[in-house]
Every structure is written in C-alpha cells, then in structure tokens.
Amino acid sequence: MASVLLGDLDDFIAPGQACINPLFTTAADSAPATAAAAESAGSKGGAAMVLEIEDDRGPLDAMAVEEVVKPDLIRASNTQTAKVSLDDCLACSGCVTSAETVLITQQSTGKLREAVASGRYSVVVASITPQARASLAERFGLSPAETHARLLAFLRERHGVHHLVDSSLGADFSLLEAGEEFVQRWRSINSGRSGPEGGRAKLGAAVGEGAPARPPLAAWVAPPPTVALSSTRRFNVELGEEEDNRMQQQRQGQVSNCASGVVSGKRGREGEEAARNSMAVEEGECARRPRGPGELLVLTSACPGWVCYAEKTAPEALPFMSTVKSPQQMMGVLAKRVFPRAWNHPHPSVAAAAAVTAAADEVSRVRDSASNGATPAASTLANETLDQSTPPPVRSRGVFHVSIAQCYDKKLEASRKDFRHPDLDGDAEVDLVLTTAEVLELIEESASAADATLTSTSPASPGRDAASDYFRRHFPPGDLAEPLAPGFPVGQAAVSVDGLSLFGGVDGEGAAGGNSDGYLEYVFRHAAVELFGVDLAGRPLVYREGRNADFRETSLEVNGQVALRFAYAYGFRNIQSILAKARRGKCPYHFVEVMACPSGCVNGGGQIKPKKKEGPRDTRLRVERVSEVLREGRVPRGPRDNPVVQAVYSELVGGGPGESRARELLHTSYHNVPKLELSNPHMSPW
C-alpha cells in the first residue's frame, strides 16, 4: 500500500499523517480529546482549560492530543468514517499539503480499475512525466524509450488504458506560456516609467518625480482569502461573495513585481545608471529596461507542494506566482479537448500527408479495444464500432485521463476545483494521478499473480527481481511511433515521428534544472531574445552555485550590466531563502524556478525507492542515476518544434501564447486559503 512509502517521503513538505480538522472528525473522536485537554489543563493547576491564554502547557497540548487521538479514516467503521475529499484538504489550512489518509482513499490504483470497469469512458489516456519514466527505467535497467513502450503494452493489456503519452507534450505549452508571461509582466512593469528618479518610492508614497501615473505595484501583501469554486469562479471569504477568477489573473499579470515598495532608492538609482548606459547602444529597447534588480519577480508554480505551501503559509507570494498551468494540467487540456477532436476528425493540418481514412481510424480503435476485451467498457465500444458505419464521437466526458507522476502532491493538484471547467461539465482535466511507485506496485501485483499461476517457470534470474523479469518478459514494446490518432503528428510516447527519440528537454538542460521541466532555461532564453535581442541558442547558460547544490543562479549581462537574473531554488530551505529575501524587498532575481523537493522532480516523493530506508548518500546516488537515465535519448528541442503546438494554438486557442483565450485555457489562479483558526474557531482556544 502506498501509505508505507508516504511515511518515508523524502520531501521537505511532508504530508500530515491524519486529518486534524475537527470539522471532519466524528463526535466520538473529539470527546476524548476534550477530556484529555481538561486533564492537561487540570494537571497544571488551572481551573479551566482556556483560562491561560498563552500557556505553552495547557490548551496547546490539548491541540496535540487531537493528533494522538487520530481519526483513522481508512480503518474506522463505516458509520464513523469522516468523509474528507482532497478538495476539502485544499481549502483547509490544517496541513500544508494533505493528510495522507485522504490522499490514499481519493486517488489510488483502485480508482483506475473502477473507472475502466464502469464503462463510462470510451477512451482511457495515460500521461507519464519524463521523471517518472526515468525512475521506472532505472528500476528495470531499460532505456526510457523501451520502458515507455513496454509500459504502454502493460497498461493496455492489464488496465484498459488505450494511450500512454509523454507529458512533455504538455510541458511545451507550459514553457511557451511561461516565456510569454514573463515577457508580458516585464513589459507591464517597465512600461511608462521613464522618470529620472526611477520611482523606487516607499510603499504607498508618490512615484519619483516626473514619472507618469501607473497602477500601484503589488508589495509583499497577501491577497484576500478565497476558496475555488471552478476554473472561472471563486468565493471571497472576506467579502462573502463570489468573484470571477479571471480578474485576479489579470491583476497578477499586470502588477506583480518584487516588493517594489521597499527596494532602496540607492538600488533604484544604480539601476537607472544601467538603463542609461545601455540606452546609448540599443535605443529602441530602453523604455523596457529595468531600473534595478528585483523589480520583477516571477515564481514558477508547476510544483504543487510549493503551491500548497504558498497558499497556506506564505500567501504574500501568490501575486508573484506564474499563472501558467503545470505540464500535468496542460496534458489535461490536451486529453480532454484536443485528443477527442483528433480521434473524431483526422487532424486537418496533416490529414493529407497522413493518408489515412476514417476506416483506418475505425480499425485502429477496434484493435485498441480488442486488446483489452476483458473490460466491459472496451467490449461495448468494440461492438458499437463494429455495428455502426461511423464510430460514435469521443466526447470530453468520455475520456478518462490518468497522470503518472513522480509526486504525491500532483494528486492534490488534479483535485483543485480551479481545474474543473464549466464547459467540461465540471469534470476534472486529470481524473487520477498515480505515482511512479504506485505504477510499480501495479506491475509487482501482476508479476506475483503471474508467478502464482506459472509456478513451473524458472526463478528470476540473479540480480533481477520478479517484477523486473516479468515486465521484460511479458510486455514486448508497443509501437511508439503509432500515432495517437490517425494523422495526429505525435506518436504514443510523444516520440519523434521516426519513433526513436523522446521529446522534451530544452537547450542546456544538463544543469540543475534539467531535473524538473526546464522552466528557467526556456524562459531565460526567451526573455533574452525578446527583451534584449540576445540569442543564446546553442550556448549553455553558466550557473553560479549558491549555498548548496539546489540553489543556482544565472544572469544575462548587457553592456556590462546585469539585465536578467534567474535562480533555481529547490527544496524547502531554499524556498525559505527566497521568501525571506522577498519579504525584505531584497530579492535580486527576476525569475525563480521553485520546486519543493531537493534535486527537483527526479527526486519527487512518489518516485521508486528501495524497500529498506536509505541514507542521504544513497538517496543522492539514486537521484543521480535517475537524472542520467532522464537524459538518455532526449533530443533538445524548443517547445515550438512540438508538432502539436502550432495546431493547438491555431485551432483550439485561436491566438498565440499569452493571449486572452490562452489565459482562459492554459492559465489558472491561486488562493490565500483561509486560516483554520478563522474557518473553525473551536480549533484553537487562543
């Protein structure tokens, strides 16, 4: 069971063990807690438990008692089981991410079986992150491409999955939008500010002399607490009314900057100097130049652990967050909106070249379905398609999308109401998230079942375990080049059309950032070209290591002045450093790629770990091995070279990155989660 692994999460933002919100615990649970609290207060000699308000020993221990009397959501009897959804977790500030008991009940392998058996879905699409695939590949000693091909065969045969797609197909959209968002925010902040003093005034004070009026800049202030209702609506807890999400997105896009109100005047003037120097050379660009480092700050938001942390304990950071959807949620958009179109209509832009007919489409899908004829859903579909001359159209609601990721918190992300779109009838973009370790469990279960039936087979070869043997023996690689849909320009693995190289990986990814999705590398290069006309294609970025290997920065100098300064901040301690700097108005970076796990996503909490507990050195070695595998066979490729990108922007989005329709479909928003003390006053007696 996944719970064992959860306890060993090597993630600095660990999930709570059990739900602590008394709203979700039963009366029976809370009674002993109260009794213990009174006892605790009594033992200190106080008459009533809440008399001594700031007592370290009375009410506080009553709080902790609550943790000892854990409501065990899984083992509790039916009548007592409290129903807590992951959505409740997101709206509660009791834990930073969520109670692991809730994670397990809501998003598990069982849900995949249920979905396939329900017959509700005509197509089951799985997406897998390159990091999760690398972890499996490392475990089985296979190349990433072969792992992908065999996993496709396994999921098809055993779990009714039709397609297995590389999520870097979606990551490219995240990168494109993030690049454009950065450039837009930069220009928004640096436009209309040509005053001689640079306008680095104290918060709320007048802008420097001669500067034209501009919207007030966001300081390090938390937005009002809100709760998500859907992708378009939110509930403002302070005002007690519903709001439109998009307004907030726009506000974020326009006014975010790095605690501009408190950057010192000196720094501002130095920046002015820089602008003046560069003006002499490149006049056309100077209006957009920054007046000093730290004016603009964009924090990436692809890491759900970091998003949860910011929403619950550092809401001041929210206005600085990138609003771009993560690769997982971009895959959701593709799976629910783009793929169905492709299945229903041969891809127009490539239809001619593909030379496939509707009949071929039918045959292909019948074949897919037949391969998992054991499930009722698939056989129904097969019959239907055989009986009719044209297959019934695949609707968004008929697609079940399971994301295979390296991270437990991705389960939480998928559960956000912000990803429930009214035009998808409120369905989620990602229906289920399985971690790498959970996928390994699926394989191990099948392996031991196979072992039980085939006792005569020779024992597993030395040096390799049963699961690995089974996986290699029983699942010949599927055809990775087989298009996702007739005429669709991408194959099963999102591999190149020749079926050999995996997509994903931008230039220079050998640096620390390669372990996640390459935001820094892409945005830096994009901004250098767009804002300064400096093309860095083919040139590796030079990084300076900070206090530890998980903190690195790089900068772009134009005319001897630092024009762009970007950093990686991986792991909780480095997140704290960034937050501390921003709080003081001393954050010198324009862009920070933030990930909660040390070493980034390759070291995600859901990756495969050895059964026995490993020490820090073992972890480091394992992460290094997975990182190496991750790079195997990857061909650096700009997101625009992704063959789906052009088609999606022209047909679905109807505009380029960063334009209004893209903001609706490909961006999201964040919430300052109301404090538990506010939402439930009984929780804390002081």
Binding site: F12, A14, Q17, S43, K44, E54, D56, R57, L60, D61, M63, A64, E67, V68, V96, T313, R547, N548, A549, F572, R573, Q576, S577, L579, A580, R583, R584, P598, G615, P616, R617, R620
Partner: protein, 369 residues
Amino acid sequence: MSRLRETAALEGHTERVWCVAWSPDGRLLASCSSDKTIRVWCQSKDSENGWRCAALLEDGATRTVRCCDWSPCGRFIAAVSFDGTCSVWRRQESTTTAGELAWELTATLEGHENEVKSVAWSRGGNLLATCGRDKSVWIWEYDESEGDYECVTVLSDHTADVKSVRWLPNKDVLVSCSYDETVRLWAEDLDDWYLLDTLNDHTATVWGIAADGPGERLATVGGDEKLVLWRNFPDETKHGKWRAESTLSGEHGGTIYSVDWAPTATDAAAAATAAASTSARRSGGGVGDGVWGGLGAPCLATAAGDDALRVFYESGEGDGAAFGLDVEVKNAHAGDVNCVRWKPSGGGVLATGGDDELVRVWSYSPPGC
C-alpha cells in the same frame, strides 16, 4: 545555612517568566516572559539586591517571548516568540544616558507556521536552531555577505510540538525534544542535515535537554517526571551512539520543565577568559569572578511544575558513579519553575524563572563545603 539559597529576586516582568539565559562570560542575565519583553540584568553595587535591569528589549514580538539565548560572542541575543518569529538583537557598544545597555533589533527570522518554542546558537555562533508547534526544527546560518540569516534546513521528523533545542558544546550536533516523547539528534552530511538518532526512553513530553561540558553526556527531563542521563559511546560512525545510562524518578512531584548541567572548573575558566577579552570594551558589565575550583563532581539542576528547584550531585567512582538528589527548594517560585540555568563562569550560581513573574538568583555549595 542551606547549601542552596536565594540571593536575589529580580522584579520587572509583568507576566510569567519562561526562560533565563546567562551571557557566556556570566556577567549578564537575560530573561523573557509572556509580557512580550526580554530583560537584561546585571549586577550592581548600588541596588539593594545587588542586581538591576540594564535593558528592556521591547517591540520584537507581538506575543509571548518563549525562549532566549546568547550568541557565544555575547554580542547577540536571539529570542523566539509565539508570534512565529525569531528576533536577533545586537548589543551596541554604547550605553544610553540612563546607563542602560543599548540593543538593536537586527533581524527577524520568519518561517515557522506558528508558535516558536526554543532557540539555540551553535558553539561557533554561525548557526541558529529554532523549533516550535509546527513540529519542525529549523537551522539558520548567518551569511556574512548578505548580512542576514538563511534557512539551512527544516527538519520535520518530530510528529508533534517540538519543545526545546540545544547544541552539543563540542560539535555541530543539534538535540531536540518534543511532545512526541522523543529526543532527536541531528547532524550534517554533504550539506544536508539529517536525523542522526532518536532516543525513546521518555514516556511523556520531553521538555528540557542539557549537555555536559565535553559533550559526552546528555540529561533530558519531561512530563514523566523523569531525569534521564545519556552517554555517548564511540563506534565506527562519526558521531557514536547515545544510550541511556541511568534514570532518576520519584524525586519530582510534577513535570520537569528544565535541566542544566553545572559548569566544571574548565568550563568556568573558558568563560572567564571570554570575560577578560571582552571586559576592555564593556562599560556596563558586572564584577569579575576570579578563579573558581568547580563543584568537585558533575552536578545537575532541575526546574519543575511542583514549584521546586533541585540540585543533583554525582557521587561514587567509575561505574559506581550515580546522581542523587542533593538539595531541593520546595517553593522556589510561587508557581511552576520554568527554567534553570547555571552561571557559566562558575561560583555555583544559578538563575531560575517562574510563573510568579520573577527571576531568582541562587547560590549553591556542594556537599562538604
């Protein structure tokens, strides 16, 4: 005359005193309280009880100041509060016109989700550890280039409120104790801090930790009214293994909140050297202590919820050596005694803080004196 007697009661705090801390040279005593302030006391010939409040540090916290600690150089005080922050105060060279010491708030460390319970400087003064109700232990490092403190690690293995942190005196190993009834030790390897060991002998909240001068022995106390002594046994690993050596129970009538190991003559001499090196530029300090011969044997003091202050003295030789209760003061404070600390420069001097809003100073003489 009792061998453990009160020499002064320091009045000033207006709510319960949580913690007292001696400056490394033993000249100054800091105390903090639910009244949100820190007071710095020094000895004074002019006042009746021989002490005066030399500084009042206000406005650093918006709620209870739970714990304070001096940096090894004696120029900084770090104080943590229930408001979730850790404040670092720096002593100015000058004094105010009223003869008070001037202190400046130089940094506020934010990061804990809620109440911070304890703070401790490492022996080198470059690391600062904090812990609190959010079950985490944080280590901060002073960054000279930035002039600020950066979070080095957040350790979240404790499963409940972390009550106290102390560093070993001889190396950068941190000890923490918690409502989860464990004592945990933390060390650094390859830039990363990790859980070195978990000590499980307590059966209730562990409230206090103290390490002896050489860093070979630990004393821990808690809600189980037990005083547990641990010894480090060297093995093939870098930090050796800690094992419980003995447990004293039955001597306390309530939760033991605090424990402290008396300085040896060597410790006191080191403190005296520190005092000599700083005395030249100090203007508000107290009286020097001269050479002190120590207490003759290892000695521990405890502060407990039964309002008592106790001193335990080790007698016997080698394997037969054992701690026994030497003296106790039953009503040391009119309420819980929250903290006890020996003066590092020796002389058998102790300070306590209690629920009666007072800081008390005590003098102890070992058996046979």
